[in-house]
Symmetry: C2
Subunit: 473 residues, 2 copies
């Protein structure tokens, strides 16, 4: 039985592209990015074309095997590694990595699922255009994975999530059929929105093999500023002022709490974090301008002066060079690593309506401090999108491993319950995977969950595509 | 049986809100906007709350009746009037017209489905904010209908279709349950994208009762320009230049063929159409600026000078006042009426990748002229979105009624086949309804159509919600 399936897979993609543990080290395919899960695959198959993906799916269907699609395997919710049964087939999309077409006048590009995000960005840039999706894993995550998880990142404020950057898809269904839905159209109302159903479904409804993406003109200049703000409310008010004055020029608005920045200052002193010592929060702003650097700088200075007059900003620096701008972003992006160097911690990826973030943080901070004295909160994230990585570090000096073992589910419960009271989401940009599938029944509207189950049953009645992800059995 | 259902409906919404032909003139509910279809309802029910909508749905389910949801009944594809069986219940959302909340700092508003689009725009404006969806029927269409059909309009280029302006929904399912999916979150990855499945499903999967919408800061100044261009290719090139120089400031880019403008000039001479006589196409551009009128004007003049140097524009005017800007838009919006005054005609609502529009029009123009000598093409639309209303008028002097009777399906076939060769859509922004449901099997990917049928069967297994729309039986 197992041998029959392996033979069918070899017939589908060629023997060299069916990797088994007898002949290959499968570690990189079986272990998740954060090393929280380690599965055991029957095989890893690496199709080289959409038709080969379809053939693999049909082979698995014929032999009753389930499939786990995998791109760069950089997800944070355990969604792309096999379970430990040794029966699942990992379908790696990495060999489907062609840029099929770029249409400059239509501002679109068509790429295969296995293209690394950075390669997609660079292919656009080579044509003088911008593909704006940007996130920490961009050097190794793939665009197929970005779409399957509806990735977010730092430019969502202006350009939207992966969902909003996608115009069309090519998808292999659980029957092994191909939906040819690649489209460069910005308006198409000929039926149900299958595109957005597959985007964000984490490989449980179909396997994305290619996508047509939106491109944008490159801005003439991009400037970065760093400001200290007297409170989280001031940060929210500054966001409103920046949206009014810069409009779509505002392409980044990140917030960082003092303790988060102190970890960078402690573990990476060479980065020289500015303005953090006398303020509860700092904010990083990015202004992308279609006219040029002088205009961008004048706009930024006008904004920051007005914000200072209104008491929203206590001090600020505007980067004088691209190197300085990169250095400021690098500080923001180093928070997770500085946190890891401080010790194991509990990560969250929540969103709250922007207007309610100050009240949410007041309440959640006080609750956690009361319930777990000495707990340290590493609060940072994409304030422009209402998305916080509201992470929790063990009390200073405590055994972090023991803290996680004993407190993680309690901390999650406290944070998630508070998020629910503020009408927020327990997964803003990372998705559900296995890690949060068990939480959905408590935090998702029951009618929504029932509709999701019906859709899954209608499209994948034998539960062969990434079973156990998003929806628990 | 019929009396039992009527009694159940009266119990659900109160006797005064169940209209039957015995006591009321139902004409306005039974006849479609373009007067192409005239159905016959069992009753029109007008629930006043979401719970009443759910009660109506349950009453219909218990009695095996099907439902036709209706907002402003301004759709163009026969999607919101009953069939002629006399057994369907028209569910009018017009009484659900409250603005439930506006959250300034979160840039969102929550409104009920029956709010007229213009009332939504005005409620945003009263808070100094912008709800950008804008289309010809805005004085009578409802936001629920806009979302159910994923309406487009003139600002899609910058702000997207109705879909992209919606963050959350409240929906009554075919079982009469309520999905409480109103959300002011810009990032939420906790499962399948039900929102976008209901948006654009034309009332066949669920009844939208309320929505949370995105708002934007009002621009500081909005300027309008009108340019004559030497060719459609020049219009496409001008679009690219405008996107690069104005970036997101470019909020409108409409194209109008010479014959379309000649009809306005002939039937509405008081509107004084500029620059149309010596050019094949004119273009209307809108620039929305966050700084102010001087900056907007300098930007516009810079763009138009560069375009003239490159030979993309032969002549241009920039509106000097808001009244002038309105007058220019009014000319553009008067094309359909001028066309109607010229006589009956065949309307299309197609989209094509922007880069291929000049070649498409060359081919379609030549094909139609060859097949139907003397036919007159009224070509205009939202070029920035690749969306043309490529309409067809009978030859001069011909009997237009007879022309439609004998030529409409042939003209549709010629145009749709050409659209398909250019990878376009036969319905860009108007939807499918009854009018185009029969065309989908010929122009939609068969795998997509099969997936749509499965989703319909999973969510509405008894085919009670707007049967025959989108999908043929």
């Amino acid at each position: 039985m197992k041998a029959d399936l392996l033979n069918a897979l070899r017939a589908a993609v060629g023997p060299a592209q069916v990797l088994t543990r007898d002949t290959h080290d499968l570690e990189a395919y079986e272990r998740d990015w954060r090393q929280r899960a380690h599965g055991r695959a029957l095989a890893v198959v690496r199709p080289g074309s959409t038709d080969e993906v379809a053939a693999v799916v049909r082979a698995c269907a014929a032999h009753g095997a389930s499939l786990v699609p995998q791109g760069g395997n950089t997800g944070l919710v355990v969604g792309s590694v096999p379970d430990d049964s040794g029966t699942q087939v990992v379908l790696s999309l990495q060999r489907l990595n062609a840029v099929r077409a770029i249409d400059r006048a239509n501002l679109t590009m068509t790429v295969e699922a296995g293209c690394v995000l950075q390669a997609v960005q660079q292919a656009a840039e080579a044509e003088g255009l911008l593909f704006p999706l940007s996130l920490a894993a961009e050097g190794s995550c793939t665009i197929g994975g970005n779409l399957a998880t509806n990735a977010g990142g730092t430019q969502v404020l202006r350009y939207g999530n992966a969902r909003e950057l996608c115009l069309g898809l090519e998808v292999v269904t659980p029957e092994g059929e191909v939906w040819h839905g690649l489209s460069g159209l910005r308006k198409d109302n000929t039926g149900y929105d299958l595109r957005d159903l597959f985007v964000g479904s984490e490989g449980t409804l179909g396997i994305i093999t290619a996508a047509t993406l939106k491109l944008f003109p490159q801005p003439a200049a991009t400037l970065t500023a760093w400001a200290s703000v007297p409170s989280l409310q001031a940060a929210v008010d500054l966001l409103g002022l920046a949206q009014q004055r810069l409009a779509a020029g505002l392409t980044g608005f990140e917030v960082m709490g003092q303790f988060a920045l102190s970890l960078v200052a402690r573990h990476m002193p060479q980065l020289r974090v500015p303005l953090w010592q006398d303020t509860p929060y700092c904010v990083l702003l990015e202004n992308s301008d279609s006219e040029g650097e002088d205009h961008a700088r004048a706009q930024f200075e006008g904004l920051l002066e007005a914000a200072m007059e209104q008491g929203l900003v206590s001090d600020a620096v505007v980067a004088e060079s691209i190197a300085q701008a990169h250095a400021l972003w690098h500080i923001r992006e180093s928070i997770p690593l500085a946190q890891a160097q401080e010790g194991l911690n509990i990560k969250h990826d929540i969103s709250i309506p922007v207007s309610r973030i100050p009240a949410f943080c007041d309440e959640a901070d006080a609750l956690l401090q009361r319930e777990i004295p000495g707990v340290r909160l590493v609060n940072f994230g994409h304030l422009g999108d209402g998305n916080l990585h509201y992470n929790v570090q063990a009390p200073a000096g405590a055994d972090a491993k023991y803290f996680l073992q004993t407190q993680e589910s309690r901390v999650n419960q406290l944070v998630f319950d508070t998020v629910a009271r503020y009408h927020g989401s327990i997964s803003a940009e990372h998705g559900v995977g296995s890690l949060k599938a068990g939480h959905l029944p408590h935090f998702k509207d029951p009618v929504a969950l029932a509709l999701m189950r019906r859709i899954k049953a209608a499209l994948d009645p034998h539960n062969r595509f990434n079973p156990g992800r998003v929806l628990t059995p």
